[in-house]
């Protein structure tokens, strides 16, 4: 197979190239537009295969809440079409582009699903994987397969479509994805508290999620990160920020935000953002604006919300960290100083103590080559992981070693 960069413009051609690579045992780096290619263990590849030329939206039925896009279609292009029809991606995918040195909105839908990137609304609406209805993909044998379909409910056979979400291109190359979309929210309200310590901030967020008000965003972040927001009232507060979002029809959103403020009185809610200001604030969260200024190592840690502040404070005694709590603390974005192992040893040790798992999202290639970028798995799960990889990619040519050595 020819070394270099391949961006086939048909699925047939892509399948042919993968089959050829399988025959010649040529490892392939699989990607969309490559905005996230610096995430993961460095892949030793003989050629690059990109879906960036597979662009288009063959099906969009707003009244069925279904959209089918070719894998290389930019997320920004799809979101524009959705916006024209007052709809949106419910999972609000985080845009990693800007923190990884790319412009905003460049990621492809294939890349978003392959990495299962979900934003703040995950707590209410589910993750990216929850909205995958079906896929067409090319497995490591070069066979074109379909799984799932384009309807809301489907238990016909195993859920291979959803399983490809979050597999980082190591199981198959997705070529087309059917996604569930939802009506866009008309009114957005954000209730803010300032100056809460992490423990209290997360406590307030958990309390908010335990109400019937369909809270759709719960973040808490330190004062030095809050300076990044373009909303001056927030940037200039000089204090930590705890933000709670509700979305709905106007009357409902207003009713719910006022009820939330009452319930959170002990935490002294000090500011409420209207729809316009809310949209700007949450878009900046979505683009991880607070981590765009530096190129320091950036981790994504999943844990249990009420554990998160303890985990962070334990870690903070060892390393100087800067933290954004999302999902009420269930997701911690954590920036470390530029130390050689990106803080991996301390982070993994702390996680072993408190529970959870961590993925290194941003670091120099040298650091990524020397440590586990993805959370090491228990031996039984690792064995199952290896079996699943073989079931899709028997000779191991798709992004080999990107997630785990030998996988």
């Amino acid at each position: 197979m020819r070394v270099g960069f391949h961006a086939p413009d048909t699925v047939e051609e892509l399948a042919y190239l993968v089959a050829e690579a399988a025959d010649t045992r040529t490892p392939l780096e699989v990607m969309g537009r490559g905005t996230k290619r610096e995430v993961g263990r460095p892949v030793q590849h003989g050629a690059v295969i990109s879906t960036e030329s597979l662009v288009g939206i063959p099906i969009y039925e707003p009244s069925e809440l279904v959209l089918v896009a070719l894998a290389g279609t930019p997320v920004a292009q799809i979101e524009q079409l959705l916006a024209e029809n007052d709809q949106e991606f419910p999972f609000e995918p985080v845009d990693l582009g800007p923190v990884l040195g790319f412009g905003p909105g460049q990621a492809t839908i294939g890349g978003v699903i392959a990495t299962n990137l979900s934003g703040s609304r995950r707590i209410l609406s589910g993750a990216a994987r929850d909205h995958v209805l079906g896929v067409q993909a090319v497995n490591g044998r070069g066979e074109t397969i379909r799984a799932g379909g384009r309807v809301m409910k489907n238990v016909t056979g195993y859920d291979l479509a959803r399983a490809l979400a979050g597999s980082w291109g190591t199981l198959a190359v997705m070529t087309e994805i059917a996604i569930k979309v939802l009506p866009a929210q008309r009114e957005v309200r954000t209730v803010l508290c300032f100056g809460l310590a992490d423990l209290n901030g997360v406590e307030a967020l958990c309390l908010a999620l335990g109400t019937p008000f369909e809270v759709s965003g719960t973040v808490h972040l330190h004062a030095e990160l809050a300076e990044c927001f373009s909303d001056q009232e927030i940037a200039n507060a000089g204090a930590s920020v705890t933000a709670i979002r509700v979305e709905n029809f106007p009357a409902s959103a207003r009713y719910r935000s006022s009820r939330l403020k009452q319930m959170l009185q002990a935490y002294a809610p000090a500011l409420e953002l209207d729809t316009m200001r809310s949209r700007i604030f949450w878009n900046e969260v979505r683009a991880l604006k607070m981590f765009q200024k530096t190129a320091r190592p950036l981790w994504r840690i999943s844990t249990v919300p009420s554990t998160a502040p303890k985990l962070v404070s334990s870690l903070a005694r060892k390393i100087d960290v800067r933290v954004l709590y999302d999902w009420s603390g269930g997701l911690v974005w954590l920036e470390t100083p530029p130390i050689s192992d990106a803080g991996a040893v301390e982070i993994r040790r702390t996680i072993a103590e408190f529970g959870g798992h961590a993925t290194l999202i941003r670091a120099e290639a040298q650091a990524r080559a020397g440590i586990d970028v993805f959370q090491p798995l228990d031996p039984p799960l690792m064995a199952l992981t290896a079996s699943l990889k073989r079931a899709f990619d028997p000779v191991g040519i798709l992004n080999p070693g990107r997630m785990y050595a030998g996988i």
Partner: protein, 478 residues
């Protein structure tokens, strides 16, 4: 019944039955082991009662360790295993095999932990679906998936079939509400997948195991998301003079940006049977009836129902009635939930579970009517309209062998129609034995071969729940 057969039993296993059972008893002395014919008879079928088969034995363990010991033993002795919850599968998913042990989880019903701050609960797989909600209802929380059989069915069974329910339009199905699993592989290995946090590390094994119809392993513990119950909920009834108008109204509501918590559809035969059975207050002079339910505070509910009413006006409803009281709401839902039972009082029925794209609803109902007329069966339609999941109930006489065979053919035609219209064979009941041979209608050989390779990654010897999901004659993996 009928034309679907089970794989031929392994005669060597049948011959060794006494020996196998003796060893099994010794291995797990505390587990209940049912070996006598009468006892096994209780487990010979599930809710697809037309198929029956006496298993080698039935074992009811009480712990993950016992499950592990049983599976390891069966693996070493090449004995097949059919996992089972409450046996409410409508697709024959829990149908035993003559040479298999049925592994029934209904003694494992403990709630292991509840964490309301983080909104998760960990339960044993044999607890009923409603059992989870009952454990947290006093604090105002609930577990969202609500299959019609929820009083009886186990959460382990829900995991196996990725169960949905009337409220999944808003809250999603099982796969969207499960965060972690403890699963025992056929080798006896115990594997923990995911946990209490919102995403799991590595490959999405939760996605694979949920909906795998008991073919990947035996799930013994489940960690689920809990949700806070809404302030209130209220349905309204919308009656139309045609299925087309009702279908268009469903699309109109969703296009307006409203996702009701439930959007149920009944056609004329279904309305009449239900009304006769429970006097739910349904209008009898309409061709199609929608039950639309919304949630929120009293004011929010009023506003939303008003909006839905305005949208519905465009489709000229004959009846438009908002529930005025909790009693009226309860009656409206009682009718819907009693529907299958009510029809069962009238006649045997064969319940289908195809899914279609919403825009094809009127066409699908029309064609289903034609197919059933051609086979000379009456049909009643009751289903989750918001997500296009149809449940045509074909009325027939189960004691008539000829009708039995014809009704399966009729059902198969309906499911093929669903696939042709862009949908799928099953939305929530699973493939089981029932739709096994139809898999080729939806999937190519390459698609099925990929699924079978994934099965083999979990269970290389194909000992777990074989004879289900895939066409029996095989696909030809290599």
């Amino acid at each position: 019944m009928s034309h679907l057969s089970l794989p031929s039993p392994d005669l060597a296993i049948l011959q060794r039955r006494n020996d196998i059972l003796k060893q099994l008893k010794k291995l797990v002395p505390d587990a209940i082991l049912i070996t006598d014919q009468e006892g096994r008879r209780t487990f010979e079928t599930d809710a697809l009662t037309a198929y029956r088969c006496l298993p080698l034995a039935v074992v009811l363990p009480e712990s993950t360790e016992e499950v592990s010991a049983i599976l390891r033993f069966c693996h070493e002795n090449h004995v097949k295993v059919v996992p089972r919850g409450a046996g409410t599968s409508l697709s024959g998913g829990a149908l035993p095999l003559e040479d298999a042990i049925v592994l029934c989880l209904t003694r494992m019903t403990k709630v292991l932990s509840i964490d309301l701050t983080n909104r998760v609960a960990r339960v044993e797989a044999g607890i009923t679906n409603t059992g989870i909600t009952q454990a947290v209802a006093a604090q105002g929380f609930f577990y969202a998936p609500d299959p019609s059989s929820q009083i009886a069915c186990t959460v382990g069974g829900n995991v196996a079939t990725n169960s949905g329910g009337a409220h999944c339009l808003k809250y999603g199905v099982t796969t969207n509400n499960v965060l972690g699993l403890r699963i025992v592989l056929m080798s006896g290995e115990i594997v923990d997948i995911g946990g209490p946090s919102l995403d799991a590390p590595g490959y999405d094994f939760l996605a694979l195991i949920v909906g795998s119809e008991g073919q990947f392993g035996v799930v013994t513990e489940v960690t689920v998301r809990l949700l806070k119950a809404p302030e209130g909920a209220r349905p309204m009834l919308l009656g139309f003079d045609s299925n087309e108008k009702a279908g268009a109204c469903v699309a109109g509501i969703i296009a307006a940006g409203i996702i009701p918590v439930a959007l149920e559809f009944m056609d004329r035969p279904a309305i009449h049977v239900c009304e006769h059975f429970v006097a739910a207050g349904y209008p009898l002079d309409v061709e199609a009836l929608l039950i639309v339910e919304v949630e929120g505070s009293e004011d929010e509910i009023d506003t939303l129902l008003e909006k839905i009413g305005e949208i519905a006006e465009d489709y000229h409803p004959l009846v438009m009635r908002r529930s005025q009281s909790a009693e009226e709401s309860a009656k409206i839902w009682k009718g819907r939930k009693a529907a299958f039972g009510a029809i069962g009082q009238l006649s045997d029925y064969y319940c289908m579970d195809g899914v279609i794209p919403l825009s094809k609803l009127p066409k699908a109902l029309d064609e289903i009517g034609w197919i059933c007329r051609r086979y000379r069966f009456d049909v009643a339609n009751i289903f989750h309209a918001g997500d296009g999941n149809l449940h045509p109930l074909i009325l027939y006489n189960a004691n008539d062998q000829l009708q039995l065979e014809r009704v399966e053919l009729c059902g198969a035609e309906i499911l093929k129609l669903c696939v042709e219209l862009g949908g799928c064979l099953t939305g929530e009941h699973g493939v089981g034995i029932e739709k096994r041979e139809l898999m080729r209608v939806q999937y190519s050989d390459a698609d099925l071969a990929q699924q079978m390779r994934v099965k083999a990654a979990f269970d290389p010897d194909w000992l777990l729940n074989p004879g289900k999901v895939f066409p029996l004659e095989g696909i030809g993996l290599q």
